[in-house]
Structure formats: C-alpha cells, structure tokens
C-alpha cells in the first residue's frame, strides 16, 4: 500500500476530475470483480445476473472515464485511464475491490454498493455538472435493477437457513466497515457539494442508511456497528487486493501496449 495519495502523474490539481474518477473507478473495479463470477456462480441465473450487472457497471465506468479524460485534457482515452493508471491513481471506494469470497460475500458487497449507487446517481442526475447529470440519469435506471437483485438475494440468504443466515451476517460484519468511506467527506467531496455537482454526504448517508436498514430488517440481519477506522481507496490508498486485481485487468495493455480488436 502506498502512503502517498497519488504520485507525480496523479491528477491532483483538479478536484472535479478526482471526483469523477472516484465514481468511475468504483464501477470499473466492481465490474472486474463481478466478471470473475462468469461460469462460477451457483446457478446460470446468477451467472447472468452478476454478468449483466458487471456489464452495466463497465458501461457506466466507460462513460465516466471518457468524461474524466476530457476534464484532464491530456488526450487520455477511457482505455488509457482504465488500463494504464497505477494503484495510487485509481480512486475507487475500497469496498469495490474486496475479494469475491463466497456468493454471500459477493451479494453483501453488491447490495451495499448498489444501495449507495442508487442514492448517489439519483442525486447526481440533478447535478449542476451537465455531463455527470446525464450519465447518472442513465445509470440510475440500471442501479435500481441491480439493487433489486442484490437485495432480494440478501433477504433470501439472511432469512434463509441457520447456515445461510450465519454466513451472510458474518460477511456483513466483515464488509460493513468499508462503507464508512462513502460518507466521509474530504476536500474533493466538499468541493463537489459546494458547486452543486455532487450531493452532501451527510444527507446521502441518511438516505443510504434508511434503504439499507429496511432490507437488513427484512433479511433478519443485524446492522453492524460503525468503526472509527476509515479506509481511503478514494484517495488512492487501497487494501492489498487492488494491486492483484489490476495486474490481471491491465495485463494485456501492459504487455501489448495499444493492442485492440
């Protein structure tokens, strides 16, 4: 893990750029994670569900990354940004990079991110940043489908057998601490909120909480306590897992620069 948030190549100067990259990278990294389920999910319906969600997230990431490339103004394409940035320059929320684990781990991670993206995109659809607004207006329709899927599975697992309940509660306990990062506003988040480009994170947290609480209650799962510790993937400080993910995701462009089909 790198101590410094970004290196000399990192676009530190532009707060909006960093804000957009955070949104883009969370979808990008989660799409990559979900893609690894293809051919491995418990049933073909789940294979399709996770793969389709991955596809939507990748599509969203592409739109946000293309916009980020324009904001940066250095001629970098969505592909350059996805495949040629190093770990400290990737600004996804840490939760997105958590390993797939078992199906329950994946569903918990997915539900927590889906609930966040629905609330975030609903607000970004009214952003003063027209590009963010139009991408979010499109993406929120997809996110609503995603959360319907992940929430219904969380309820089935939580309110299922003793075994499924215990395992998914333990997944929730393990992954919950990473959600704090969503709502811990730093200067990038505050600048976006001040411009009306992004939501106020305290308000976002309240909306996310009530959505999450309703599903947890139905799933008979206990909401874990919030910890004081914070992760800061959104500042480029990641868990040990992201580097491994990137080495796989970026392999082709690193080994065969400019390869295409």
């Amino acid at each position: 893990m790198n101590a410094a948030a970004g290196n000399s190549d990192a676009p530190q100067g532009d707060s909006r750029l960093r804000y957009v990259l955070r949104i883009a990278d969370t979808s990008l990294v989660l799409a990559q994670r979900l893609g690894a389920w293809v051919g491995h999910a418990p049933a073909i319906e789940e294979d399709l569900g996770l793969a389709n969600t991955a596809l939507d997230l990748l599509g969203q990431a592409r739109l946000f990354l293309s916009y980020a490339g324009e904001l940066e103004g250095r001629g970098r394409s969505e592909d350059d940004l996805a495949f040629l940035r190093d770990e400290p320059d990737i600004l996804n929320a840490t939760l997105a990079e958590m390993p797939n684990g078992d199906f329950g781990d994946t569903i918990v991670r997915q539900f927590l991110v889906d609930a966040y993206q629905v609330e975030l995109y609903e607000r970004l659809a009214a952003s003063t940043d027209a590009r963010l607004a139009e991408i979010a207006a499109k993406a929120v329709k997809e996110a609503r489908y995603h959360v319907r899927y992940s929430a219904s599975w969380l309820v089935r697992l939580g309110d299922g057998t003793d075994e499924s309940h215990a395992r998914v509660q333990s997944s929730l306990d393990r992954l919950w601490p990473y959600t704090q990062e969503f709502f811990d506003a730093d200067e990038v988040d505050r600048a976006a909120a001040a411009d009306g480009a992004g939501p106020d994170l305290a308000e976002l947290r309240a909306a996310w909480s009530s959505r999450v609480d309703a599903v947890l209650a139905e799933a008979t799962l206990a909401r874990p306590r919030d910890l004081a510790y914070r992760w800061y993937g959104k500042q480029g400080r990641h868990s040990e897992h992201l580097g491994h993910l990137l080495s796989e995701m970026q392999y082709l462009q690193r080994s065969h620069p400019g390869a295409g089909w």
């Binding site: 569900g49 599509g59 499109k138």
Partner: protein, 172 residues
C-alpha cells in the same frame, strides 16, 4: 428534433435515410429495427450531403451499442450517403416507452413479451412488471426466473401452466 435542413431536397434525404434505418436490425433481437427500438433520436441531412444520426444507447454497457453504430453507418453508406456521422445522445435516457407500437408487435410475435405500451402508463405504471402473460399459451400464471436474461434488456420468466420459459423485455 432539430431538422437543420438547408437544401431543398433535405427533407427527402432525411426520409430516405429513415427508410434505410427501418431496415437496420437490432443485432441481438434482429426481428426489430433500430427505428422500432426507439434509439434513433434524430436524423439530419446537411446541405453538403452529410447525414447525421443521433443514437441513444439502451444500457450503458450494452455490447450491441458499438455494433449498432457501425451497422447504421454501413447501411447509410451503402445506400449512397457520402458522409455519415453517428453520435451518442445520453440525455434524456432511453426508455422502453420509446419502442414503437410496430416494435412491440414484432417482439410479441417473436416470443419476447414487450414492455407495456406507454398509452397505459408504460413502465411508470405500478405493477407493470407483474401479471405477465405467457407468449405461448397466454396464461397469467407466470413467474420470474431471473431479473437478468440473455441480453441486458431482457428478463427470464417461466409459465407455470405450459412450463415453458420465455423472455420479457425489461422496463427501463
């Protein structure tokens, strides 16, 4: 719609281009055209013969989007349009309410349950996704097998009466 038609036969050119687009199939559901699908937002013919087509993607990550763009360009070029420019329009986002009546009919005929017609409230109508009739036997005794089907735009259902699975075009 901004019909920036300058030359006298511009309207004709747009009509001709639209006729070509009516023959461009969706790559994943070839029974309907890109016009039926409601993704062609605008067709404009410039005075120099350039035709500009604005297209809305169905889903952000739909792999067919790039193919559709290429197909539209190729079809118009083959029809004699000298310069064809296809651009994406995200806003307002595409909705299944934009699928034409003809498109709905063709989907149903093909065995894919179309989204509800906008006249009846479309996808905004509560319960628009329940009570889906089986396209084979017409029974309303059907269930959702998977919210996600073989393409991003479809969900998989099953009829409890005739036991056949079927696709439904998702409301979005």
């Amino acid at each position: 719609m901004t019909a920036a038609v300058v030359r006298p036969d511009g309207a004709t050119a747009v009509a001709r281009a639209r006729a070509v687009l009516a023959g461009v199939p969706d790559p994943e559901i070839p029974v309907i055209s890109v016009l039926d699908l409601g993704i062609v937002r605008d067709v404009v013919a410039d005075e120099d013969g350039t035709v500009r087509v604005a297209v809305s993607p169905t889903y952000s990550g739909c792999p067919a989007t790039a193919v559709i763009r290429a197909d539209i360009k190729a079809a118009l070029e083959a029809a004699g349009f000298g310069k064809v420019l296809v651009r994406d329009v995200l806003s307002p986002p595409w909705t299944t309410d934009w699928i034409s009546a003809e498109g709905r009919r063709k989907l149903a005929e093909y065995g894919i349950v179309p989204p509800p017609a906008p006249a009846g409230g479309g996808c905004a109508r509560p319960g628009s996704e329940t009570g889906v009739a089986c396209p084979r036997c017409g029974s309303l005794d059907t269930e959702v097998l998977s919210e996600f089907g073989s393409t991003p735009c479809k969900a998989l259902h099953r009829c409890r009466a005739c036991r056949e699975p079927f696709d439904r075009f998702k409301c979005i």
